[in-house]
Amino acid sequence: MTGPDPVGLYRTVRLIRRFEERAIELVDAGEIVGGIHPYLGQEGVAAGVCAALRVADLVTGTHRGHGHVLAKGADPARMLAELCGRVTGLNRGRGGSMHAADFGVGVLGANAIVGAAGAILTGAVWARRRRGDDVVGATFFGDGAVNEGMLLEAFNLAALWRVPVLFVCENNGYATTMPVEGAVAGTIAGRAAAFGMPAATVDGQDPEKVREVSAAAVARMCAGGGPELVEARTYRFDAHHTFEHRVRLDYRPPEEVAAARRRDPVLIQGDRLPAAVRAAIDAEVEATLAAAVDFALAGPAPDPATALDHLYASGLTARTGGG
């Protein structure tokens, strides 16, 4: 486990921020088909949690998952190529924005079904530990997912079997357009109490606070304490999905968005660094992303004849649909 690392945290939040901004440009340019769920504003959560994990530790996440994958150490160029649907992408262009996975750095796949990833991670961590591997895991989900039975069942299994899983709720205030106050009876932390899991609520806009809370939880989990829940209070600065850029849904007061934007994790963490250090990281991130965009756009599109490659790991081939 790493210690406090203000520079590393800044690099991560800055990387995620610029990745998302460049990705939105590529959506607007028509290079990313299908749009994305922007993570803008929530960078501190992924950065802080993943800073408390090792490469071997496991992560599952959601459709709003770019930040989790990047914070865990995936190559931004291959990630962006995946968003562009190229064979050079992390998933060879088969997963796209919502399913980015990089097993090499412990990212077992982002999941587009809300609340689905918690039980998958619980099983993965359990199986690895049964084999003798000293791993823990973190699974990310939104405030909407705490109303899904599948996730609550996962809380129960993890707590019952003392599986070291950090359940990370990114409470950004809205499940698509549904405000959390209109959706969650009781409290999010209270969900954990019902299963005997420790829970903490943390300012998700502050990457260092998220790291500190996560590192303490990971230390307790490693000591056999079982799963924990972290509710990170955050806010998405942009749309639920880039389709909103066209359809203009009206569900958040502009002054609420403006106020939230003043608590920007990139600025909060950046203010902790000397200006020269920050400028150097910014330049480094720009160079990384410029190269990532070049790499992504240069990658070949998959051959349509390979559309069903990887459908079966056993080598089974499916009958075709035509003729």
Binding site: R94, G95, G109, I120, G123, A127
Partner: protein, 321 residues
């Protein structure tokens, strides 16, 4: 030699695979005490780490198995009633089945879903009597319905060794079938077998209905020569084996314990007529569209494909053309 029951063949397959491969483990409801009689003795032999009693949390433990498989294990889930598959259809179809493609081949999800007591158990009424194998064939999850003890053993072994998710339906009507089993060997997935050779008509029978088809074939022996084809695996289906049979007989009847609309019988007939000229229109005997099994035994039986219906369908096909 003791005659082996179908149920005990399943137990033996689980024990043999757990012995052979440390990564195989079992999970499910009431499996430590072997409430369904399939996991008998396995807790004592392999311990609670490999025979996991689960809370009533079907969705979570099904996805837990997906995660364990992603991490290198080979989970086998035992479901106590077939309709639990409706609860976890999402977890199997939308996650376990889709992960290898969605990740661009970064993973495999070798989970076996074992459903002993599938179909009517007589008197278990509307929510415990489903036989939803056609749903899994439709979405492309490997789907196995063994009819005999040797196949129950060999197909379950192959399912556990398969790198993809596999659903093994063990029909209630077959669990107590007994047979002399001399050869405990894996049965390849996707390969059917001719149970009884014949020359006039091919009857495709699924699961426990193989035994009904054999009985009907015997009864009709003086009038019609019936070939009985047991596909054993519904997805992938042994089209070559079936087409070979129908090419010889020129006639086709399918008996299948799933609902008529979009059931496997419809797919079998469609594929055959696309590929082979038939001497007469094919027929199928199935549950009715949208079937819900009523409680009273006479009503339960009325909804299931019966021997009389099969006999009539064979005679109709052989009369036409």
């Amino acid at each position: 030699m003791p005659r082996l029951s179908y149920r005990r063949a399943l137990t033996r397959a689980l024990a043999d695979e757990m012995t052979r491969d440390e990564s195989v483990f079992l999970l499910g409801e009431d499996i430590r005490v072997a409430a369904a009689g399939v996991t008998t003795g396995l807790l004592k032999r392999f311990g609670p780490d490999r025979v996991l009693d689960t809370p009533l949390s079907e969705q979570a433990f099904t996805s837990f198995a997906t995660g364990a498989a992603l991490a290198g294990a080979r989970p086998v889930i035992e479901f106590q009633i077939p309709s639990l598959l409706f609860l976890v259809f999402e977890q199997i179809v939308n996650h376990a089945h889709k992960f290898p493609l969605m990740t661009g081949g970064q993973c495999a999800v070798p989970v076996t879903y074992l459903v002993p007591g599938s179909g009517s158990r007589t008197g278990w009424a509307g929510q415990h009597s489903d036989h939803p194998y056609s749903l899994f064939a439709h979405v492309g999850v490997t789907t196995v319905v063994p009819a005999t003890p040797a196949d129950a053993y060999g197909l379950l072994v192959s399912a556990i060794r398969c790198d993809d998710p596999v659903v093994v339906f063990a029909p209630a009507g077959a669990l107590d079938v007994r047979a002399d089993v001399t050869d405990f060997a894996p049965v390849p997935l996707g390969r059917g077998v001719v149970r009884r050779p014949g020359t006039d008509v091919t009857v495709v029978a699924v699961g426990h209905l193989v035994h009904d088809a054999l009985a009907v074939a015997d009864e009709l022996a003086g009038q019609v020569s019936v070939e009985v084809f047991d596909p054993r695996t519904l997805y992938p289906f042994d089209w070559d084996g079936l087409l070979d049979s129908v090419s010889r007989t020129g006639r086709l009847v399918v008996v299948d314990d799933s609902n008529r609309s979009c059931g496997i019988a419809g797919e079998i007939i469609a594929t055959v007529v696309e590929r082979v000229p038939l001497a007469a229109p094919p027929h199928r005997v199935t549950r009715p569209d949208g079937a819900v099994l009523p409680f009273a035994p006479a009503l339960d039986r009325a909804v299931q494909p019966g021997r009389d219906q099969l006999t009539a369908a064979i005679q109709l096909t052989c009369k036409d053309g």
